[in-house]
């Protein structure tokens, strides 16, 4: 698949297509908003500093929750970014998406007027879509007993609202849709975007995902499973006691290499492989075999060998079950190389953005490839023999890596792994 990749893992010079005639796919823009910051620069700064965005939750009825911490977007004032009419029409998950998309498109320097817009699209991930809109309006009709809701409730809450608004904002008239695979939504979305650009079905795809589930109903639902931590997210640490929810969005510009090169765009990274698998086993408990098949599949799709991978951005939720299963999958997929690669969970900082999480985690992959800085797993306190890998505990590390993976393993047993390479 990657004929220019030398055997020593060094990245060769670029050719527009692979030997099989597939187009090469590069990332030329990135945008985000999450608990660590309102843009990419502030998020990467937090990764470097190993800073947590997790704090006491602040929203209506939070006192009725047994879980009161989360990685909530700080200083969020929609009126700083949107006018009154837009705020009435955009749920928070759409607002986050549009903000991230604006940053990504600005960085890419793309103008979708004319033919490019016809050949470009958007595919985004979200698990819950307009959860705040559901929550607020159920409260209105059930708790407050009102019999009238705002006319925009449906267009606000639908899962495809964010993708549709992005398409309208930029005139993206090709493929546009939303993927909902719980915690793997963003990785599935980005993987599909990659496949569409690679196959020539689209020249540019905006992709990533968003989640805004931090409201009373959103956290109350998660409480029920009893997998949430009341104090911190400590992935891979023996004393980890659960996940911490986050919110926000990440959006990227995936572009045909030829298109990017022709216009002299700055390339952040190359997307080289993607694989998905299903455990077909249990609705909540993960399977190491299912995860391993997706990891191996992504490397195979990319034409990479296990020893080419220097870093993995883990799914790393901080639950007892996920972390040990994921480490077992990595150990098995990589064999002796598992002891040499680095694997970290940035959820310890930005929380678990559920359907948006892979998108924010993609930033840590780009930082590793581009800046040679590996984001740490913070909150790490005690080694766990069941997670005996180099999890880059607590402090970011400088290291040159040529290829990385991003893992996402969702409830429902749905696994999606993306491979990227330095350019």
């Amino acid at each position: 698949m990657s004929p220019k990749k030398a055997k020593d893992g060094k990245v060769g010079t670029f050719e527009p297509t692979t030997r099989e005639g597939l187009r090469r796919v590069v990332i030329t823009g990135a945008g985000t908003i999450n608990a660590l910051g309102h843009d990419v620069a502030s998020t990467l700064a937090a990764f470097r500093e190993g800073r947590s965005g997790i704090s006491q939750l602040d929203f209506r009825d939070v006192d009725r929750l047994s879980i009161q911490i989360g990685a909530q977007v700080h200083d969020w004032k929609p009126e700083d970014y949107f006018n009154r009419q837009q705020i009435l029409l955009y749920d928070k998950f759409t607002q986050f998406t549009l903000l991230a998309a604006k940053q990504a498109v600005a960085q890419a320097g793309l103008n979708f007027a004319g033919k490019l817009g016809l050949n470009s699209g958007v595919v985004l991930g979200t698990a819950a879509g307009g959860m705040n809109t559901w929550d607020e309006n159920y409260r209105t009709v059930y708790e407050e007993g009102k019999n009238r809701v705002h006319p925009f409730v449906v267009p606000k809450l639908m899962n495809n609202a964010a993708a549709s608004h992005v398409s309208m904002e930029y005139g993206l008239r090709g493929p546009a849709f939303t993927v909902a695979t719980a915690c793997a939504s963003s990785n599935h979305a980005m993987g599909l975007a990659f496949q569409m650009v690679r196959s020539g079905a689209a020249r540019v795809m905006l992709t990533g995902g968003s989640e805004a589930m931090l409201c009373f109903g959103g956290v109350k639902a998660w409480e029920g499973l009893r997998v949430m931590s009341k104090d911190a997210c400590r992935p891979f640490s023996a004393n980890r006691n659960g996940m911490v929810q986050g919110e926000g969005a990440g959006v990227f510009v995936f572009e045909d290499y030829e298109n990017a090169r022709a216009r002299g765009a700055e390339i952040l990274a190359e997307v080289v492989g993607f694989a998905m698998s299903s455990d077909a086993q249990d609705i909540v408990m993960p399977s190491a075999q299912g995860a391993e098949r997706a990891i191996r599949g992504a490397m195979q799709d990319a034409g990479l060998n296990p020893e080419d991978i220097g870093y993995i951005n883990a799914h790393g939720t901080g639950t007892a079950a996920n972390d040990k299963t994921e480490c077992a999958a990595v150990a098995h997929a990589f064999g002796h190389h598992a002891d040499r690669l680095m694997i970290s969970s940035t959820k310890s900082m930005h929380g678990h953005l559920i359907g948006g999480t892979g998108a924010v985690e993609m930033l840590a992959c780009i930082m590793a490839l581009r800046d040679g800085v590996i984001a740490p797993t913070i909150g790490y306190e005690e080694p766990d023999p069941e997670c005996a890998l180099d999890v880059v505990p607590n402090v970011a590390r400088e290291a040159r890596v040529d290829a990385v993976l991003s893992n996402a393993f969702a409830f429902g047993g749905l696994n999606a792994v993306i491979a990227l390479r330095r350019v």
């Binding site: 029920g224 499973l225 009893r226 997998v227 659960g242 408990m285 639950t319 007892a320 079950a321």
Partner: protein
Amino acid sequence: MTNDTRSRIRSIIAEQAMLEPDQVTDASTPGELGIDSLGLVETIFAIEEEFDITVPFNANEPEKSDFDITNMGTIIAAVDRLISEKAA
């Protein structure tokens, strides 16, 4: 400990395990009864609803939770304690 509490908990656990109540003894463990982690969380929810109590239980560290789920007997004792704490 009242027999009433024991029989109500036994019914809940038996229903979860798809067994008859008399097949569940104080020594029965969730594992022996075929109750997996999701089933355990569901059982605890049913107990909370039945007795109107809040059970402190984190599935990530069941051994650290202040609610001993080793077997039927320890669960009954823990529920009994929560009921009396609530009454106090």
